[in-house]
Amino acid sequence: MKKNLLSLRSTLTVAALVLGSMVTAFSLVSCGGGGTSGADSTASGGDALLGAGSSFDYPLFSKQFDVYNQANGLKVNYQSVGSGAGISQLTAKTVDFGASDAVMNGKQDSALSSPAIHIPITCGAVALSYNLPDVKDTLNLTPDIIAGMFLGTITKWNDPKIAAVNKGVKLPSTAILIAHRSDGSGTTNIFTTYLSKVSSDWSTKVGKGSAVDWPTGIGGKGSEGVAGTIKQTPGAIGYVEMSYAIQNKMPYARVQNKAGNFITPTIASVTAAANVQIPPDSKVSLTNTDAPDGYPISGFSWVIIYKEQNYNGRSLDRATKLLKLLSWMIHDGQQYSAALNYAPLSPAAVNVADAILKTATYDGKPIL
């Protein structure tokens, strides 16, 4: 009897221990998931700066951080977990900076304990890639055609609307198959923001976001998933990051911009798209740019940090290191963009980014 009691007690003890550890694990999960409860195990420990977010930025950041580490001996540990997860980690204060292809939305903003600033760090663009084996010329597409195809109202490649802007191209009667991203992504966000701007139908029926309810087509996971569908299916068209399309030598269309010019997505035309009036907080979508030589489906990618850098016991030294790194990235760091098929920041964007960096404070005093 006593032995039984004893064994029951030890069993209960273990059970309680397990339950306790599970509660801990569970509360950690709720923080990572964008909760507001503050996990105070911050990034203040260790020498390396920590960042998380956009996978689009990752190749560029790797190069930049490597060069910077060799010159200044500062290690930066960047996790390419996706823009949304990067913002969640910044909210939970487990990283020094987040990186995102979209500005923070209202709900994300209100989850923050103190205001954050967005620093434009590079430009990306979304290319429309297609698979028409018999068409050798580069296709021209207008905003109207793109919206029509993705809404499912234009279903054949020899549609008169497409033919009208591609005179001399023999278009097949193949059915159009839309390929889109199935995972939430900044690329989708830029593309749907563009469609919402140029098509009121799109804006009311679908809207913009990093994941939307696609009226038609099939989803592929990641750029490689979309590219796979396009390459395999004659008649398919989909959107992929410009750098991905260039690296993989996929055919992509010229898109008519606001000024009426058909623009090929290139590093130059994307940088041109960003050479417009940029608001002081830099929170602007470059899609449907006013620049006459700018590619219309472009966007900034931002690094997001807290405006007040003294939180969770961070040292002034750490904050200064972070700000110096970001300043280097928007100036000297930009020279590594082109080789990796990123568009360098336009002069206008660098000016705005500089001004934003100067607003960062430590104990209310400017850092830079």
């Binding site: 059970a15 397990v18 199935s182 989803g219």
Partner: protein, 328 residues
């Protein structure tokens, strides 16, 4: 302390008393033995408790997962209510979430995969269990089938995307449905391949365990091999075979990577088995990292909860069926 007794003092009339060797040496030895047997009892108890604790740990873990899923789903349950289960729109932009297309996608692709895989897994099980239990060819086949289970699912995804999709597309062209190649049917095909080993392995060992006197009796009555399999081996093993099939189904319900690569990932309601669709596991894997709104995240977790419950329900039904088989 001197506990020794004179042996000469014990007479024959004192039997059934045993003559105890009471030299100090022997007593020390006996004490050691007693000590050891106490230690053995303790080891025995510790071992039993360890088993109990480990068993309980698993129960607690499963309950904990369920609890986590429920708690994290609360925002979505509050915002959407029961409409979540039969809503057909999944729209992160307007924060409207209905899981029915994914629920259907999961069930259709899994059951279709099961139907496709059963003939193969049964054939393998019977051939290996009854016809050729030993030899290099059966060994080779057995290992190959088991290897199927060991291949990572992303490799099946690649294989399906590169090989199955074009084949299915030409099949679709020839029967005149929209020829995309990706869709529920393709994902069922790749799932069917992936789940064969579960039912086949279990089925093989079950069929091998049929007592030989049953089979010999049947042969003795003039039954052919087919009749022995049909009337002796299969009825004797049906609960085991069914358990294997249930295991396969569980695998199919939860498979994520291979499915997401070929199912077409659309939130539209599936209109046919050739149409693109999506499964619950695949939606979670796709959208979790970028779920940027609290209700969105919670709706995805609720999808996990629904998947959990679907698995539980199917398992309970399966157990009931197995019980009825065994009672017959």
């Amino acid at each position: 302390m001197n506990t020794s007794v004179e042996n000469s003092g014990i007479t024959r009339s004192d039997l059934p008393l045993r003559v105890i060797n009471s030299t100090p040496d022997a007593i020390a030895k006996a004490k050691r033995r007693v000590k050891r047997s106490f230690r053995q009892i303790r080891t025995e108890n510790v071992f039993r408790q360890t088993l109990l604790i480990i068993g309980l740990l698993i129960v607690i873990l499963v309950l904990g997962i369920l609890l986590t899923l429920i708690v994290q789903s609360l925002p979505s349950i509050k915002a959407l209510g029961l409409k979540y289960l039969w809503g057909t729109t999944w729209n992160p932009v307007s924060d409207v979430y209905g899981a029915l297309p994914f629920l259907l996608g999961t069930l259709i692709s899994s059951f279709l995969a099961l139907i496709i895989s059963i003939p193969f897994s049964l054939a393998v099980a019977i051939w290996l269990g009854e016809y050729y239990p030993k030899g290099w060819l059966p060994d080779f086949l057995k290992n190959t089938v088991e290897l199927i289970a060991a291949v990572p699912s992303v490799i099946y995804g690649f294989w399906a995307l590169a090989v199955l999709v074009p084949i299915v597309r030409s099949l679709e062209t020839s029967i005149g449905v929209s020829a995309i190649g990706q869709g529920i049917f393709t994902s069922s095909l790749v799932l069917a391949v992936m789940i064969i080993p579960y039912a086949a392995s279990l089925g093989r060992s079950m069929i091998q365990m049929v007592p030989s006197q049953f089979k010999e009796a049947a042969y003795g009555l003039g039954a052919t091999r087919w009749e022995v399999i049909r009337s002796v081996a299969l009825p004797y093993t049906k609960s085991g075979l069914f358990a294997g099939i249930l295991l396969s189904l569980g695998r199919a319900l939860g498979e994520t990577m291979a499915v997401t690569m070929v199912i077409g990932n659309t939130s539209q309601m599936p209109t046919s088995i050739f149409a693109p669709g999506n499964t619950m596991a695949s939606v979670i894997a796709n959208e979790f990292t970028e779920a940027d709104k609290p209700v969105y995240l919670s709706a995805l977790i609720e999808l996990g909860l629904v998947l959990f419950l679907v698995t539980v329900v199917i398992n309970v039904i399966g157990k009931k069926i197995i019980d009825r088989f065994t009672n017959d």
